[in-house]
Symmetry: C2
Subunit: 161 residues, 2 copies
DNA sequence: CAGATTTAAATGCATTTGCAAATATCCCGT
DNA sequence: ACGGGATATTTGCAAATGCATTTAAATCTG
């Protein structure tokens, strides 16, 4: 447990006005990701890729043959929405669904060669947005930032993945 | 310009697989905010508050009488969605729309006493989520984290607000 | 091992969303 | 002062979303 940690948690009785929006991390993160996701969405729209489809492809480019339920967590997409996104990706030949070997309720998702190729073409745009985001922020700072994000995710995640 | 900054930007030609999802800041931020927003949304649902309504109230508790267009940026909500959320908040007496004094196209939004009271009751839940998020992260680290977020927002924001 | 419970995924359906168009007003140049 | 374009907000409408349900299969329990 980390309850005895010397790190003082933010006081729960502070008002939002006292913190100020521009010092309130969740606000800033929503602002940043709102813009990031919107700009990515606009760029992907040309390629016929919605946000759920793009995220699924991105995760599949890195994680091999996850269950649909796992993919939903990684891609941060509701499972029912993901199910429909996978229908489209499968119809376009970018992924393939395959029944799990040992649990026939479950389905594993595989990215196809075509899917990988599609992701190769869209990754540079994601990388560009990423680079713009961190412009003027050196590697040490970025590392520290990512380290804090990892702690935060561990704090709030519900699933063990 | 900051182009000559000594900070080396993340290389645009790195693959996502090389970085790894768990070191990729946008992924982590989407995961964290996805969970944070979902849990808040569930809690607010009881109170009859959608995410756009809750965000509008939160911003209005801090920023006085913004234009609707400004409120949309701060609340990270599409303006047409916000317009409808404001209809509901006004019907519930939590906000008031008032024509701008000098520009009769524009509308300023005011939080009412009832709106402030409602926000007072929901803020503790937001503060709790915030505290959980930063559990085990000390103040210095949180400050540094917020500092990086502020730089990132400056990098990617489109509006000057 | 039968029946009850849980889990995985897909689907029906009502709600929400966001784009594009409509409306109203302002601002600029001439 | 007038016409053309810009700006603020609302609204119509089609598409996307997510909750709840369904279907199917696994697991637990007595």
């Amino acid at each position: 447990m980390t309850d005895q940690s010397p790190a003082k948690p933010p006081p729960t009785d502070t008002r939002l006005g006292e913190i100020g929006l521009s010092n309130y991390a969740p606000y800033l993160m929503n602002r940043i990701m709102g813009r990031y996701n919107a700009s990515l969405r606009d760029e992907m729209a040309d390629l016929g890729l919605s946000t759920p489809k793009m995220r699924a492809l991105a995760v599949l480019s890195v994680i091999d043959a996850p269950l649909i339920r796992e993919l939903a967590v990684y891609a941060v997409v509701e499972q029912s929405t993901l199910s429909r996104a996978l229908d489209q990706l499968a119809a376009e030949g970018l992924i393939r669904r395959e029944a799990d070997a040992t649990d026939s309720r479950a389905t594993r998702v595989f990215i196809t060669e075509a899917g990988r190729t599609t992701f190769e073409t869209l990754w540079p745009r994601m990388a560009e947005s990423y680079a713009r985001m961190f412009k003027g922020i050196d590697e040490a700072e970025r590392r520290a930032f990512v380290g804090t994000l990892q702690k935060m995710l561990a704090n709030i995640r519900k699933h063990e993945i």
